[in-house]
C-alpha cells in the first residue's frame, strides 16, 4: 500500500509515462515548475530508473487535459509525491519491458542489460529496445508500488548526462515565460485597480471611455471590476492610467490604523491546543505544569512574495469554451473554481501551465487568471494576454500574515528547562481558490469581490492538518518534560493573506531559535550544547554538529562581529537544516552577512546542485525577509508599491556560503525548498545578539528598528 496521494489518485502508469514511436518518452506530472525546477529532478529519476539518456525524456508541461491531477504544488511535497510516483512508474515499466524482452529474445531475465533504452543479453546476439517492445501502445496497467527501484547509491549517471536544456534557454533569453506566449491575434490587457480592497466603483467618465474606444481600446467593466484591452501594449498601459484617473471610487471601509500586533493579540480569534503537530479541541484551561519563569514575545510584519515578474495570464473564450494559460500552482483547483463561478462544466475549461518567475507560494497567479478570463468572456473570440503592473503586484497579491509569537519556559533549580509554552497569533496562511468548501473557490480569487453581485470570501476555518499553516513548526524538535502549544487564528485583520514559502514555520522557528538562545544565556550554557542536550534525533544533531565544526574556524571576536546558529526540521518530518551565520553590524546599524554555513539532511538526493540552490536561495530570501522586509500601509492605501518602497536584499549583502549535504542515499526523498528559512532567521537574530548585545524580537532587523531597540535597552 502507498500513502502517496498522487499515486492513490493516479494509479495507472499511462497517467505518468508514455512511449512515443520516435525513441522518446513523454513524462507528465501534475506538479508545476515555479522556478524550483522540479522537472529537472523528475527527468533524472526517469533517466536512472529506465537507464535512458535524459535527451530522450520529454517533460510535458502540465495541463488539465492529460496530466495527472496532483492537487497543489506546495509544501515541499513534490519530491515525495511526484518523485515517488514517477520512480515507481518507471520501475514498473522497466520490470514489464524486461520481462517482455526476455520472452522475445528467449533468454533469462538476469542476462538482460539496458543501455539508453536498448536491451541486450549475454545469451544472444539479438537485441531489442523499449520502443520496439511497446510499439506505441498504452500499458493499461497499474503502477506496482512494490516495484524494485534502483538503489539510491547506484544513481549517478544522469548527473553527468543532464541535458540542461532549460538553463541553456535561460542564458540565451529563449526560455518561454507566460509573458512570452504569442497567440495571433491577441490583445494586451491590464486590470485597473481601485485605491484599496474595500472600494466600490461608482462611475467612470463616459467621455474618456468614448475617446479610448475611438483609439481602439476596449474598457471592460463588471461591477467594480475594471480593465482595458487593446492591440498595442503601451497604449493599453496609458489607457489604464487614463481610466484610473477618471474613475470615482467609494471607500467602504478603511484599514484599522491600530498596530497590527495589537490587533493580532486583541481581535476575535479561534484558539486551539496543538498536540503532536495537530490542532485539537482539547480544553485550553491553564496548565499547572507549565508555570513559566521566563518569557519573550516575538513578531514579524506582513511580508509579500514580491515576484520579479508581475502576475500574468492568457485567456481565450470561444464557442462556450474557455482556455487559460496560467502560472497557477493548482491548475485543477483553479479550473473547478472558475467552473463554479462561470457555471461551466469542467471539461469546457482547459488550463495549461506556463512558467512565470519564481512565486514561492500563492501570489497573484490565480487572480491574474480570473482577470484574464473575465476580459476574455467580455471580448470573446480573441486571446487576451493580461499582465499586472509592478504596483498591482506589490499592492494586490495575497500577503503572508503578520504574526506574534509568545514564548515562555520554566527553568528549574537545576537549570533544566522543565516546561515550554508557545502561543502563535496569525491570520490564515492558506486561502487558495479551493472549490466546494463553503464557496471558498471563486471567492478566494481577487476579482470575485468586485463583481456584481460580489462574491465575498467567508472566514476560513482553522487549518487542522498536521503542521498546517499557523502551527507549522510550532512544535519544537527539542524535547521538554511539559509543553503547551497554542495556535490562534485571528479574525478581522486588514489584509488578504495566503501561502508564502514555509507558511507559519518561518516566524515560529525564528521565535523558537531566538528563545533557545535566550534560555542558554539565562542558564549560562553554550547555545549549541543546550540544543544538543534537548534533541534526541541523531540526524538533527548531525546537522548542528556539521555547521558548528565549520563555523568554529571563523574569527568573529572583533567588535560588532558575532555568529549565531539556527536549526529546525521542516514540519518535524521533512528536511533537517542547521544554519550558522557570521554577521557584522556596522556604524549605520546595517547588518552585514559575512559567512553562512548550511548543513542539511534531505534523505536521498537526486539533484545535488538543485538542492544546494534551494538551500542557498532559501537562505538569501529568508535573510531578505529578516533584515529588510515589511509591508507599509496607512488607513487607506498600501504604501509598499514598488522596489523602492519595499526594498529586498541585493548583491551588497550576500554572504560567502559553505553548504554541506549530509548524504543519506538509503533514506526517502525529503522536500528541501523551505527547510532553511526559519533556521536562517534564528541564526541571524542570534548572531546580531552576539555582535551587539541587542536581542531583536520584532522583525525586520532594519537599521531604524535596531536603533530604537538600542535606545530602549
Amino acid at each position: 500500500m502507498t500513502k502517496n496521494p498522487s499515486l492513490l489518485k493516479n494509479p495507472e502508469i499511462d497517467s505518468w509515462i508514455s512511449f512515443s514511436r520516435d525513441g522518446l518518452i513523454n513524462v507528465r506530472i501534475g506538479k508545476v515548475d515555479i522556478g524550483q525546477k522540479i522537472s529537472t529532478a523528475i527527468e533524472r529519476i526517469v533517466s536512472e530508473e529506465l537507464d535512458l539518456d535524459p535527451k530522450r525524456i520529454v517533460m510535458v508541461m502540465p495541463d488539465t487535459i492529460l496530466s495527472p491531477n496532483e492537487g497543489m504544488t506546495s509544501g515541499s511535497n513534490s519530491m515525495e509525491e511526484s518523485g515517488n510516483a514517477i520512480r515507481l512508474a518507471a520501475a514498473t515499466i522497466r520490470e514489464t519491458l524486461i520481462e517482455m524482452a526476455s520472452r522475445k529474445l528467449n533468454v533469462s531475465i538476469a542476462s538482460l542489460e539496458v543501455t539508453d533504452g536498448m536491451i541486450s543479453s549475454r545469451e544472444t546476439d539479438r537485441t531489442t529496445n523499449y520502443w520496439d517492445l511497446q510499439e506505441g501502445r498504452l500499458f493499461n496497467k497499474a503502477i506496482n508500488v512494490e516495484a524494485k527501484v534502483k538503489p539510491g547509491n547506484h544513481y549517478g549517471k544522469s548527473q553527468e548526462l543532464y541535458s540542461g536544456a532549460d538553463i541553456t534557454n535561460i542564458v540565451t533569453g529563449s526560455y518561454k515565460f507566460i509573458q512570452d506566449v504569442n497567440l495571433n491575434p491577441m490583445l494586451h490587457a491590464r486590470p485597473v485597480r481601485p485605491p484599496n480592497i474595500n472600494s466600490k466603483l461608482c462611475q467612470i467618465d463616459v467621455e474618456v471611455e468614448k475617446h479610448l474606444k475611438k483609439n481602439g481600446i476596449t474598457v471592460i467593466r463588471n461591477g467594480s471590476f475594471l480593465a482595458v484591452a487593446g492591440t498595442d501594449e503601451y497604449e493599453v498601459i496609458k489607457a489604464a492610467d487614463t481610466i484610473k484617473k477618471s474613475a470615482v471610487w467609494k471607500q467602504l471601509r478603511r484599514f484599522d490604523p491600530a498596530s497590527i500586533f495589537e490587533q493580532l493579540k486583541n481581535n476575535k480569534r479561534i484558539s486551539l491546543k496543538v498536540v503532536d503537530g495537530m490542532p485539537t479541541e482539547a480544553p485550553l484551561a491553564a496548565d499547572t505544569k507549565i508555570n513559566p519563569n521566563i518569557k519573550s514575545t516575538y513578531s514579524r510584519p506582513y511580508v509579500m512574495h514580491a515576484s520579479i515578474a508581475p502576475s500574468s495570464a492568457v485567456a481565450k473564450f470561444e464557442e462556450n469554451e474557455l482556455e487559460i494559460w496560467t502560472h497557477s500552482q493548482g491548475i485543477y483547483l483553479l479550473r473547478a473554481s472558475l467552473a463554479e463561478l462561470f457555471h461551466m462544466p469542467d471539461d469546457k475549461i482547459k488550463i495549461y501551465h506556463r512558467s512565470n518567475s519564481g512565486c514561492y507560494g500563492h501570489n497573484g497567479a490565480d487572480d491574474a487568471a480570473i482577470d484574464a478570463a473575465l476580459i476574455a468572456k467580455a471580448v470573446p473570440g480573441i486571446a487576451i494576454l493580461l499582465k499586472w503592473t509592478r504596483q498591482d503586484e506589490h499592492a494586490w497579491e495575497p500577503y503572508s500574515s503578520a504574526m506574534v509569537m509568545e514564548l515562555s519556559a520554566n527553568i528549574d533549580k537545576k537549570n533544566k528547562i522543565s516546561s515550554w509554552k508557545h502561543s502563535t497569533f496569525s491570520d490564515t496562511h492558506v486561502s487558495r481558490p479551493k472549490p466546494g468548501q463553503k464557496g471558498l473557490g471563486a471567492a478566494n480569487l481577487l476579482a470575485s469581490r468586485f463583481l456584481d453581485p460580489p462574491i465575498i470570501a467567508k472566514p476560513i476555518p482553522p487549518n487542522k492538518m498536521k503542521h498546517g499553516g499557523i502551527h507549522r513548526n510550532l512544535e519544537p524538535l527539542y524535547r521538554f518534560e511539559h509543553q503547551l502549544l497554542i495556535k490562534n487564528l485571528v479574525r478581522n485583520l486588514p489584509h488578504r493573506t495566503s501561502a508564502l514559502r514555509t507558511l507559519g514555520a518561518y516566524a515560529n522557528v525564528f521565535a523558537i531559535e531566538s528563545f533557545i538562545d535566550e534560555l542558554a544565556e539565562e542558564i549560562c550554557v553554550d547555545a549549541v550544547e543546550l540544543r544538543l542536550n534537548y534533541l534526541s534525533d541523531q540526524r538533527a544533531k548531525a546537522c548542528i554538529k556539521a555547521v558548528v565544526k565549520e563555523i568554529a574556524h571563523i574569527d568573529a571576536s572583533q567588535p560588532n562581529h558575532g555568529w549565531g546558529i539556527g536549526f529546525a526540521q521542516y514540519k518535524n518530518s521533512k528536511a533537517y537544516a542547521a544554519v550558522a551565520v557570521h554577521v557584522m553590524v556596522n556604524e549605520a546599524a546595517e547588518i552585514k552577512l559575512l559567512k553562512a554555513v548550511i548543513a542539511a539532511d534531505a534523505g536521498q538526493i537526486i539533484d545535488e546542485k538543485g538542492v544546494i540552490a534551494q538551500l542557498e536561495g532559501g537562505f538569501i530570501q529568508a535573510a531578505s525577509w529578516t533584515i529588510y522586509e515589511e509591508i507599509m500601509y496607512d488607513d487607506e492605501n498600501i504604501l509598499s508599491i514598488d522596489w523602492e518602497s519595499y526594498p529586498i536584499i541585493g548583491f551588497d549583502n550576500i554572504p560567502d556560503f559553505k553548504t554541506i549535504l549530509i548524504s543519506m542515499p538509503d533514506e526517502p526523498f525529503l522536500g528541501i525548498g523551505e527547510a532553511v528559512c526559519g533556521p536562517a532567521a534564528g541564526a541571524i537574530g542570534n548572531a546580531v545578539f552576539k555582535a551587539t548585545g541587542l536581542r531583536v524580537r520584532q522583525l525586520p532587523m532594519t537599521p531604524s528598528n535596531l536603533r530604537s531597540l538600542a535606545l530602549k535597552t
Binding site: 542564458v171 520579479i308 548583491f651
Partner: protein, 157 residues
C-alpha cells in the same frame, strides 16, 4: 505613430511606434525579441536591460525612437552566430539561475562591465549588479559564475 530604423544585434530593423514607446515594448512586441523581460517598468529591477552603445540600459523606460543611430544589443545578440559568450557559458556551467527571469538582465550587466573593464574587482562586480534584483536568491551562484570565468579566462593587466 512614427517610422524609424533601429540597429539591433548588428542588423537594421524598421519600426513603427509612438514617439514615447519604450524600447522594451518595441523589442518584445514589434520585433518578437522576447529575451528582455518586463519586471517593473520603473527602472528598478534590471530584468529589461540591454546594451546601448555598450552601456547597460534599462529598456523599460527609454523611448525606442531616441535610439536611432545607436547600436543596441539584446540578450539574443550576446551569443554571436549561435555560440554562447564566455559570460553565458559561465552562467550555464554554474547553473546561475533559479527561475531565470532576471538572468538576461544579469548577463547584460556583466557583459557591459567586462567590455569596459576586463579585470573587474569584486567591488566593481557588486556595483554593476547592485541595481539588478533577484528574488530566488541566486546571487551567490551568479557571483560564483563570474568569479569562475575570471579564473578560466584571466585577462592581462
Amino acid at each position: 505613430m512614427i517610422d524609424f530604423t533601429l540597429r539591433i544585434n548588428r542588423e537594421n530593423y524598421d519600426v513603427t511606434a509612438m514617439t514615447d514607446t519604450p524600447l522594451l515594448f518595441v523589442l518584445r512586441n514589434n520585433l518578437n525579441l522576447k529575451g528582455s523581460k518586463l519586471g517593473c517598468g520603473l527602472e528598478q529591477c534590471g530584468a529589461c536591460a540591454v546594451l546601448v552603445n555598450g552601456e547597460s540600459t534599462f529598456s523599460c523606460a527609454v523611448a525606442a525612437s531616441s535610439l536611432v543611430g545607436k547600436s543596441i544589443i539584446t540578450i539574443e545578440g550576446v551569443s554571436e552566430g549561435g555560440t554562447l559568450s564566455v559570460i553565458q557559458k559561465a552562467f550555464l556551467t554554474e547553473i546561475a539561475a533559479q527561475c531565470g527571469y532576471c538572468t538576461p538582465g544579469m548577463i547584460i550587466a556583466t557583459t557591459a562591465l567586462f567590455n569596459k573593464n576586463p579585470n573587474p574587482k569584486k567591488q566593481d562586480i557588486l556595483e554593476a549588479l547592485q541595481k539588478h534584483l533577484c528574488r530566488c536568491g541566486s546571487h551567490a551562484r551568479i557571483l560564483a559564475a563570474i568569479n569562475n570565468m575570471q579564473l578560466d579566462h584571466p585577462q592581462n593587466d
